[in-house]
Symmetry: C2
Subunit: 329 residues, 2 copies
């Protein structure tokens, strides 16, 4: 089973990119060609000694050396542009996580990937990603029932990123918090109807730029479409020192619960939960497992955009199929 | 999206078969051609009014009407014979659950299915099945870590069936029980090394036949290969009335926990848990979702034996792919 190593590269080197770098180092069947960044490569010290850092514009010169490009930009403004552009030239995997925009993003990436004869796996990670898979498993196995997704307590990278882009914001961290009342209702088996906003609240800790108007910043955050407009959102201003002291960890977690009834009216419950000390490192670990899978799909002849729903679990594992059946089934 | 209905049939009509009957009735895109039994069809009253019951030997006459045959026999002696024999003539799904025998069973079914130009999905259900998938997800996403599977407290159909086949046993129920000490060690994050037998005990409640020797029955149970030989197993004898009064429910459950470390040494935990009021009805619900998937794999040209590791999550759902991306991703 000495398959050639899967040659990967990283596009974008923030928290997620550094997590991907570490996850590739932990994969027995993958190598890292390098990191590509829009910043000055000379300004960056990679986390691992063997990692090389390259300027963004040199990416195309390395097409023949890269099997899968792992896109580590943000969903708010990086990926909508980079996803289709890079899928036209590379087999890619990304963690695009603006749920409402996924169908349009899929179409854009799909067209680019088909034209470029590549394969692009979009919206990997844990939500979208592992949580999405568990929503599909739950409703497919227990069609008579209800699904509940809870997030937190934890920092949302996407939401923190969105707050940081608000004019007047110097830095920010956003926490998503499950509502204890809602959890209690769901676990009781009463199958309540709850909106996402009824299940969670959002807390933003914001450092203002010197000249910023706090009221204008608050208004811009709490009314932001898709991100905050439907939620009970609080905004707390603090100093850069306070933010650095109290809000540097990136824990997260949550769970997907499917509660259903079968046959003679028996209640059946499926629960998938994550407790994460580092959200970006976990998201990165999922991305790297799906990098392996999208490379295999490409080798099998699949072209265009795909999602986690299109990936058989065995494709995520470095083990051959017979070994998986013997050891894991 | 008006695909033709998936035409299913049930081979074997015990608790699992009745669960499958109910699950097919709950599926929007499936119909039930009938139930086939080795018993006298006249002696059977089906659970649902529209279900027809047929003699086993007439199955071949209905080949053209059946897209997927759901095998509902036991793993101990039914499926090793029926699995390959029926996969030679039908696209099938089964719940073969003798873990140690899976590779040999896969090979036997694979040969038969390839010769018969059919597709056979083996070892579906929850373990093997959903738990297996979560073992693969866990070790693929968090390669540096350990996986723990706990079962119970609950009735194991396979183990109860095995006890019932011991000479001298009139009836029996077997409970699998997680060890509280082991659960505590695992949740502490200390990554202990534990065998299956260290994580669980087994309790058998047995009704003897009139002439049976209790010591011989106990010895036959506790030394049974694969099922009991490695466990701390207790055998309690009771009357048929006591068994019917106290042990008729079939609850079960358990969880798969993956505890791992990423990047900078952060601990990450994935937990997949089931709380089931009816084990056979839940297993049946999984089988029916995989019946949909194996039909689709067959339509796509896949032939031979496959497992849950070969099935992309989207194939389990009656929803079209674009709807899944919009609603579940």
């Amino acid at each position: 089973m000495s398959e050639p190593t899967i040659r990967t590269a990283i596009a974008g080197y923030g928290n997620l990119g550094r997590g991907v770098e570490a996850a590739i180092a932990a994969a027995p069947d993958m190598s890292l060609v390098g990191v590509w960044t829009r910043r000055d490569p000379e300004s960056i010290t990679p986390a691992l000694p063997g990692t090389t850092v390259h300027p963004w514009d040199s990416l195309d010169e390395h097409r023949d050396q890269i099997d899968v490009l792992v896109l580590c930009g943000g969903s708010k403004s990086d990926l909508p542009e980079q996803g289709p552009a890079l899928a036209a030239r590379f087999t890619t995997v990304d963690s695009f996580d603006t749920h409402a925009e996924i169908p349009a993003y899929f179409e854009a990436v799909d067209s680019a990937a088909r034209a470029g004869d590549t394969t692009a796996l979009i919206s990997s990670g844990w939500d979208p990603g592992m949580f999405s898979i568990n929503r599909v498993f739950g409703e497919s196995i227990l069609p008579q029932g209800a699904t509940y997704t809870f997030w937190g307590r934890g920092v949302s990278q996407g939401h923190s990123d969105a707050v940081r882009r608000v004019p007047g914001v110097a830095d920010a961290v956003q926490y998503t918090i499950p509502s204890p009342d809602a959890i209690e209702q769901v676990r009781s088996g009463s199958l309540p109807e709850l909106t996402t906003a009824q299940k969670h609240t959002r807390e933003c800790f914001v450092v203002l730029e010197d000249s910023a108007d706090p009221d204008a910043v608050t208004e811009a955050i709490v009314t932001m479409e898709h991100y905050f407009d439907a939620y009970d959102t609080s905004v707390t201003f603090l100093t850069a020192e306070e933010l650095a002291r109290d809000h540097t960890g990136m824990p997260h977690g949550g769970f997907v619960l499917r509660s259903g009834r079968t046959g003679q009216g028996h209640t059946q419950t499926i629960e998938y939960g994550l407790t994460l000390e580092s959200n970006p490192e976990f998201t990165a670990s999922v991305l790297v497992a799906y990098a392996r899978a999208v490379h295999r799909l490409h080798q099998q002849g699949q072209r265009g955009a795909v999602t986690v729903f299109d990936v058989a679990p065995g494709l995520l594992s470095p083990k051959p199929a017979a070994q998986l059946r013997a050891e894991d089934l």
